[in-house]
């Protein structure tokens, strides 16, 4: 039996990884660009100078790196020979998508990359040009931004020709890129003329080593056995703070200087205009003192600039030497950051788990406490031929079992939580898990706290209880009836044992087996069962968190919850198998 348990646990591990792979795959298929979600959805597409564009890209790449998205997805990839191995290095997701779509259409990766790089160069070059005609510049930027996202031939040709025609107009200020644009059109034409579609049908396997997104998500990239040297982290943080302090000083100096310069300019004008007016000396004095002030400010500014430079040089040197860690990994309890509020997923889960656990603890406890005796009792009613009570009981349990809990939840909510129908029916609070803010009222007693929470949770717990209670009772009744027909019960009766002993010592114990196996399905059922109830009664538990994360596309939270539910199901199965093995000596372990 010990062997059996070990074997069972060994099977657990591959199953866990298969499920983690499935969930990882799903998370990769989730729509939307996580980097943009984290950045708040504002991508600095095509506005500003080259430096702005570069900064925008840098910021994007940094977020991608922090999320671990700059790595290849998996240890190896099974793909066609057409796709280049380093496609993942292109940091923007929409660019990557466009490139792989184009490769999918033409197969010629080299030509596609050539086209993409030319497009990017033109893009930067356009950003460098300052005095272009506004309308043409707008057309150019729109065309290029669209081309970064377009993979359909007709649209690409349309955009290419549109800008070509615009560039042909006289005096547009964008003459510098005309040659590049024609080059780009040629490259696209080359791509279209030289497709290598056969490469798409050649399977290849590419391996990427261990530093991959899946590995980081599951195992993390923090060192396992040595602690991370965080001194340089702190130093970098301190440096950044200092720089942040200095920058406004410099800016305010800048402001004062330009103010003084403006004032000097007006004084100078006054002097020029007035010529030999009343008191030019005093004005000159002001002018001179202002000049001195400006000099002083300028030198101050210079020192600040120097210190900023030294500080940022130190920061850059430190951070270039620093190994960055993305995550500790799922197995070490690091589930990543929520996309929506940047909170740690584990913290969000902890808050939500509290309410779900409280409700499910009572729901499961109550349903087991009622259903086991009721199941035995109702089996006895059937055996003793008490037809009326037996059929009422069976029908009652059956109806309870078939009632969808979200319907009952809604009905109870509609009729018993407001005075909409009658003043007499406003029994329970409409939503939430507690009214009193315990942090704000430290003098609330434990009893008041309990009463408040109980008042809120009675209806939800009822809704979560009745279904499983009816199910368990029916199972218990069925298995009890099955056991009582067995020969060994007849033997026990023949031995002359009292009916009480026969029922409770022989029949009852053996009829518990199905109830034990049901234990395995309780955890996942509790989690998914609470989704609707938590939604109806606005209880901030796991179910509501799962639902809210799904609708707001907060994938790290969603997939952590799915993963947890899967782990709980597996643990439930494991426990049930082991319990079954322990309780029932007839089970063979081969």
């Amino acid at each position: 039996m010990f062997q059996y348990i070990i074997k069972r646990i060994l099977i657990f591990i591959p199953t866990f990884f298969v499920i983690s792979l499935l969930i990882f795959g799903l998370s990769k298929m989730a729509p939307g660009d996580p980097v943009l979600v984290v950045m708040g959805g504002n991508d600095s597409e095509g506005v500003g100078q080259r430096s702005d564009l570069l900064n925008g890209e840098k910021a994007y790449a940094q977020v991608a790196e922090r999320l671990g998205l700059d790595k290849p997805a998996f240890y190896f990839v099974f793909t066609s020979a057409a796709y280049p191995a380093n496609l993942y290095e292109i940091s923007k997701q929409n660019h990557r998508e466009t490139i792989s779509r184009l490769i999918d259409a033409y197969g010629n990766a080299a030509a596609v990359m050539d086209y993409y790089n030319t497009l990017k160069n033109v893009y930067y070059k356009t950003a460098d040009i300052e005095n272009a005609r506004h309308s043409i510049e707008g057309t150019a930027r729109n065309c290029m931004n669209d081309l970064f996202n377009e993979y359909e031939d007709g649209v690409i040709m349309f955009k290419l020709n549109l800008l070509k025609d615009s560039l042909a107009t006289p005096d547009n200020g964008l003459e510098a890129i005309q040659g590049d644009w024609n080059d780009l059109i040629e490259k696209y034409q080359y791509l279209k003329d030289n497709p290598t579609k056969t490469e798409l049908y050649l399977p290849t396997i590419r391996s990427y080593g261990i530093n991959t997104q899946y590995h980081t998500w599951m195992f993390g990239d923090y060192p396992w056995f040595s602690s991370v040297d965080s001194s340089s982290h702190y130093r970098i943080e301190a440096l950044s703070l200092e720089i942040i302090d200095l920058v406004p000083q410099k800016r305010s100096l800048n402001n004062s200087i330009s103010k003084l310069r403006g004032r000097n300019y007006t004084i100078q004008e006054e002097l020029d205009r007035v010529g030999t007016n009343a008191s030019p000396d005093s004005l000159r004095q002001v002018l001179a003192s202002n000049e001195v002030q400006i000099e002083e400010y300028l030198s101050n500014q210079k020192t600040i600039q120097v210190s900023i430079n030294t500080l940022s040089a130190e920061r850059d040197s430190l951070s270039s030497n620093l190994t960055r860690y993305t995550s500790k990994g799922f197995l070490r309890g690091d589930f990543g950051l929520s996309y929506i509020d940047r909170k740690e997923v584990s913290l969000k889960l902890k808050d939500a788990l509290y309410w779900t656990l409280v409700m499910n603890f009572f729901a499961i406890l109550i349903s087991y406490l009622i259903s086991i005796p009721l199941g035995v009792k109702s089996a006895l009613w059937k055996l003793k031929g008490r037809k009326l009570i037996d059929s009422i009981n069976t029908a009652f349990l059956f109806i309870l079992y078939s009632l969808p809990n979200f319907w009952i939840g809604t009905i109870l909510l509609v009729f018993f939580t407001t005075a909409e129908y009658s003043e007499m029916l406003d029994w329970f609070p409409t939503s939430g898990a507690q009214d009193l803010d315990f942090a704000a009222h430290p003098d609330t007693t434990l009893w008041m706290k309990f009463l408040d929470i109980a008042h809120h949770l009675i209806l939800p717990i009822f809704c979560m209880t009745y279904g499983s209670f009816a199910y368990l009772s029916r199972q218990m009744r069925g298995s009890m009836l099955g056991v009582i027909r067995q020969d060994y019960i007849r033997t026990a009766r023949a031995k002359g044992l009292s009916e009480r002993k026969v029922i409770w010592k022989h029949a009852f114990r053996n009829s518990l087996f199905p109830i034990i196996t049901l234990f395995s399905s309780i955890f996942p059922r509790a989690l998914s069962g609470s989704i609707a109830i938590e939604l109806i009664y606005a209880i901030p538990g796991m179910g509501q968190l799962a639902l809210m994360s799904i609708t707001s596309r907060d994938w790290p939270v969603v997939f952590t919850i799915v993963m947890f539910a899967a782990i709980l199901t597996m643990i439930g199965n494991l426990i049930a198998d082991i319990l079954y093995a322990i309780v029932d000596p007839r089970v063979s372990f081969k």
Binding site: I11, P203, S402, T410, E420, S528, A546, V562, T569
Partner: protein, 442 residues
Amino acid sequence: MFFLNKKRTDIITQSIEYSEDKGYWSIVRKQFYKNRLAVWSLHIFYVILFVAISADFIANERPIYCELDGESHFPIFHQYLVDLGLETWDEKFVSTKWLEQAYDYAIFPPITYSATTRDAKNNKFKSPFGVQNFEEGTNRGWHYLGTERIGQDVAAGMIHGTRTAMLVGLVAMSIATLIGLFFGAISGYFGDDRLKVSRIRIFLNILGFILAIFFAFITNGYIIADLIGNGNLLSGIAVILAWLIGLLVLANLLTIPLKKIPVFSKKVTVALDVIVMRFIEIVNSIPLLILILAIVAIVEKPSVLFVMVIIGAVSWTGIAKFIRAELLRIRRLEYIEAAQAFGYSEFRIIWRHALPNALAPVLIAIAFGVASAILTEAFLSFIGVGIPDDQVTWGSLLKLSRDKFSAWWLAIFPGFAIFITVTIFNLIGEGLTEALDPRLRE
């Protein structure tokens, strides 16, 4: 007619009991007809099925038959042709609303609203027993079950919701049954020891499978992704299946000449049962509801079809287990040995001889499965995930009641419909369980 009294049921039962037919199915039928509740449920199921099929003729804003400007029309039938792209509507039908036409003569369905017809005069939750406003000169009828916020008729929504619920239940379970039959049959019939295959066949089949995955999901991945993204889920699945079946057939054809080489032709035993059972165990470890939620949320364009396919694709394990258990028993029976002695192919033995005798217990799993599929769909539309916003279902109507507590009709009727449907399928399942249980048979 449907709800027979005890006397009539007894007569039917007796006539079945004394019939000449002593086959397995007639015994099952006999047992099943003894359970009056289950028989009732079966009849209610027929009623619901009828409502689902003829939903367009029960609740529709178009008349069944009308005479307008001296011409006769059959607008509901015409709508089918328009949906198929064979016909178009006349200008006068497009410009004026159906219910506001001045017909010479018209036969309307009992409920004169489609599920998405908005009655602007009766919006904002009109009670079935309260005051409802109707304009002169329109053909609008009473809202039997009230309206919701934007004036859609609840009764019409319920009728059309029946169709969605039935479709989801039956289609999802058909998919689940197909998958479950396949896996259950191969793992039960072959077990761990009976499938002896030549090396080359195993190798070529694995190769074919991998190549099919490659061609379908990598070479043509974007084609399939676009098909599914545009809502053509079925064509997407068809492309995948075409690759899979094509390559596997090719692999098996290639086997025939290559088998002549002695090294390749050596037989290897495949422990199919272990593989399938491990697979089922993994599927069972996944919390289905949450998985469905996650998958359905990923799809950018929600559709009921997708929900059906997902529910079907994840709920086949019960059926597979039933079939497997039955076939493990049946494969030891003598008539199977006889069939093998005749030299029939394994496929033919499974399909013609073993499976038909294993099907009865599957009916139980299907009955309960339909109930839970309908419940899952109602749940999904209740929480507003995966069902398109403009689709009216029982769950989406029930959801509306949370917006306005005083609209009791929204809380009562749709939920009751879900409850009744789930209950009758559970009762049918119970009845089948009893009818098929040899311990309970006298």
